[in-house]
């Protein structure tokens, strides 16, 4: 019986969710977006997605071979490979995708230690570097609802994306409903707001994505857009145009909430959401590039450890909060020694020792004081309520006793003086 038994650390029941189910959720949520892209641009969209997966997975495998690691079957490269093409137009060349994937895997992920250790969002950096190298290819969009050629020269009719018109200060000539449904030129995955938002909400309901990050990004971002319109329209219209063009909504659900590079604490997530909202807004308002969101995301990634530190500092003070009160308002150092003595065994021992060697007892008392001080700073804050009160009561009683004793001694001395 015993050879087969296995060692296992303490909690022996675990949640059924694992990294694999989380990643599968994200992939499932990305599938409808690809279906919409297929509907608007034909099979080339699907092929771009497949090539993205292929490049990322192959590059990770090469990296693992070079580093002499075991090739693991984790799904994160596949997600990176699925997200990158969705940020680009459907006419983009395959080699651009390959370059973006190479940057994502070889520059962002592997040098820092692979999955779980990267500092920046791989998809965002891959897209950003492709956008810098080939702006003409990455920012020229085909008109939707036409079937693109799978390989070869691009002969599709091009159109101006709403984000570009907005950057020029012109009101886009599309209906808001069209923008919601995605039949406007733009990145192949980010235009169909309805589908993207539904998939994002699916992820939030499944708790794969923490609700705090997207909400704390989208609310301040919309507020800023509504307050500072770039075009001459009512602030609501302007908000709709600004919010529904570009990759902000897609990014909020699928890139910003990526667990590795965002802060860990809830409050840190809030701060990160607000920071990236402000940064994305500033990029949009003052910058000339249409897709400032990716850069805002990278800036947020830089600060995310800092947000965690700030959060930890706040919590640190909060945890001490109860204790500060205790030290300053309730506990005096004198009472701490009494706490030591309250244990019956200790008291007996001390009495005996005091009888035997009164000179040493004084020293021990100071030691006990130090010890008890240490103990009290280590106590958990919450569960002491009833202990405390009992100590207080006892100490008060003893104080009273002492007070009673003291005047009697005074009287004695007075009597002696009188005698």
């Amino acid at each position: 019986m015993n050879e087969s038994l296995m060692f296992q650390n303490a909690p022996h029941v675990r949640q059924s969710e694992s990294v694999r189910t989380m990643m599968t959720d994200v992939i499932i949520a990305l599938v409808p977006i690809y279906v919409m892209a297929f509907f608007y641009y034909g099979p080339r969209a699907l092929l771009l997605g497949l090539s993205g997966i292929l490049f990322c997975v192959v590059f990770s495998a090469i990296g693992a071979l070079v580093l002499h690691e075991k090739i693991s079957f984790d799904l994160t490269p596949a997600i990176t490979g699925l997200v990158i093409p969705l940020l680009m137009p459907a006419t983009v060349d395959y080699f651009v995708i390959a370059a973006a994937c190479a940057v994502a895997i070889f520059v962002v992920k592997l040098p820092f230690g692979g999955t779980g250790n990267n500092l920046f969002n791989p998809a965002a950096v891959g897209f950003a570097s492709a956008a810098i190298c080939w702006p003409a290819k990455v920012f020229s969009y085909p008109a939707p609802l036409q079937t693109l050629e799978i390989f070869g020269e691009n002969t599709a009719a091009m159109a101006q994306s709403p984000a570009y018109s907005l950057a020029l200060g012109a009101v886009p000539e599309y209906e808001v409903l069209d923008m919601l449904l995605g039949s406007v030129p733009g990145p192949m995955g980010a235009t169909n707001i309805f589908v993207v938002a539904t998939c994002g909400i699916f992820l939030m309901v499944r708790k794969t994505v923490n609700w705090i990050t997207p909400v704390s990004f989208l609310l301040p971002y919309s507020l800023l857009l509504a307050l500072f319109p770039r075009i001459e329209a009512s602030s609501f219209d302007s908000l709709c145009y600004e919010l529904f063009s570009g990759i902000a909504i897609f990014g909020a659900f699928f890139m910003l909430s990526e667990p590795v590079t965002s802060p860990k604490r809830d409050f840190g997530k809030f701060m990160a959401g607000i920071t990236s909202a402000v940064a994305a807004f500033l990029f949009r308002y003052f910058g000339e590039l249409e897709m400032g969101f990716a850069y805002a995301l990278i800036i947020m990634n830089v600060f995310s450890p800092l947000f965690d530190e700030i959060c930890e500092e706040i919590l640190h003070v909060l945890r001490r909060g109860g204790k500060l009160k205790k030290v300053f308002f309730e506990k005096k150092p004198k009472e701490k020694t009494e706490k030591e003595e309250k244990l019956p065994f200790v008291r007996v021992l001390k009495k005996k020792k005091a009888e035997e060697a009164p000179a040493e007892a004084v020293e021990e008392n100071t030691e006990a004081e130090e010890l008890s001080e240490e103990e009290i700073t280590e106590e958990p804050v919450i569960e002491v309520s009833f202990d405390e009160t009992s100590e207080e009561e006892i100490s008060e009683e003893e104080n009273e006793e002492q007070e009673e004793k003291e005047p009697s001694e005074d009287e004695k001395t007075e009597e002696e003086a009188a005698v």
Binding site: A10, K264, E312, H316, R319, P380
Partner: protein
């Protein structure tokens, strides 16, 4: 919403152990002689009850102390509260609860005797409320004593004190100790047995059992039967217990709450993806994911800054981790090393 809530929701899996009657392993009862055999139960004095607890050698299963010492030394003062602990917030474990539910009269008698010693103003039985997978409802009263349902997420033991009046004292005693006290008073029986939950998916007949103290784990498992070869056997609670290798040499004691045999353990942790779920789950609001990294690097100074000493070892962080990392074990180990270093004066 979940922003301020700490702790985790656990599937309790207490069925069918809770509703099935307790299985008693046959053993020879031991009896003691006392100097006051003929006194009626309601005429027993305070000292006599303490004497009974001492003669019967009752151990309180909630903290492992001797009941007689506990009764003797506790001074509740005015308006104190006596809490009977039957919380059982860990999955599978239901030994205290089933003691209360299947022997309510005995437990009530024990509580009555205990009340006589401690003379509290208020007495209640604490039970964990969030048991969804059973159609069994928690009784409102055990004998004449009110049952307070302790709600909320795991870990719930700390919330036992929530119902006591402010500024008053309270004492917690285990429900099974009350059962044993009643037996000692009625039949002069020594506490030779303990209540244990035997559960897990490898157990054929999951039950609450009453077995003599010192029975080996193997015998208890044989009593309930195995339906497949277990991969892990756990002694203690499902969240805090330890896995054992030699079931024939491990014996149960009064504080053992359960034995769980699982047909499959957890394998292959994957790297931490930094999702922050462990931070969210921690009932003490510690920055667990950062602490885990620090613990792996052995940076004890920073760990002190991150309040690693406050960890109560509840295991909630490991439970939620999607990468199946032993977060709690890493932190508890680092905490122990820190304490050692502090003693040696190197920190």
């Amino acid at each position: 919403m979940s922003f301020f809530v700490r702790g985790i929701i656990l599937e309790q899996k207490k069925e069918p152990m809770l509703t099935r009657s307790t299985l008693v392993m046959r053993h020879e009862y031991e009896y003691f002689d006392c100097d006051f055999p003929d006194i009626a139960l309601d005429e027993l004095s305070r000292e006599q009850i303490i004497e009974l607890a001492r003669l019967a050698e009752i151990v309180d299963e909630s903290d492992g102390k001797l009941l007689c010492e506990k009764l003797e030394k506790t001074d509740l003062g005015e308006g104190g509260t006596l809490i009977i602990d039957a919380v059982d917030d860990e999955p599978y474990i239901s030994s205290q609860m089933s003691g209360c539910i299947h022997h309510p009269e005995k437990v009530a008698l024990g509580i009555e005797l205990c009340e006589k010693v401690l003379s509290p103003e208020k007495t209640y039985v604490a039970m964990y409320k969030h048991i969804f997978d059973t159609n069994f409802s928690i009784p409102k009263k055990i004998g004449n004593y009110k049952v307070e349902k302790i709600g909320g997420r795991y870990p719930a033991e700390g919330r036992v004190y929530r119902h006591i009046p402010k500024g008053k004292n309270a004492v917690v005693v285990g429900a099974c100790a009350m059962l044993h006290l009643a037996r000692a008073a009625e039949d002069s029986r020594k506490m030779t047995s303990c209540f244990i939950t035997v559960a897990g998916d490898a157990i054929l007949n999951p039950r609450n059992v009453e077995v003599p103290v010192g029975t080996s784990v193997e015998r208890i498992i044989q009593l309930c039967g195995l339906n497949e070869k277990p991969e892990v056997i756990i002694m203690g609670g499902s969240m805090t217990g330890r896995s054992i290798f030699e079931p024939e040499n491990e014996v149960v004691g009064p504080t053992t709450r359960g034995i769980i045999a699982l047909s499959r353990g957890y394998h292959n942790p994957s790297p931490c993806i930094g999702c922050g779920r462990c931070d969210h789950a921690c009932p003490k609001a510690l920055s667990v994911s950062t602490m885990r990294k620090l613990a792996e690097f052995g940076d004890f100074e920073k760990l002190t800054r991150y309040d690693a000493a406050l960890c109560i070892g509840c295991g909630a962080c490991s439970y939620v981790c999607p990468s199946r990392i032993d977060v709690a074990a890493t932190i508890i180990k680092a905490k122990k090393q820190m304490e050692l270093a502090k003693k040696e004066g190197t920190l």
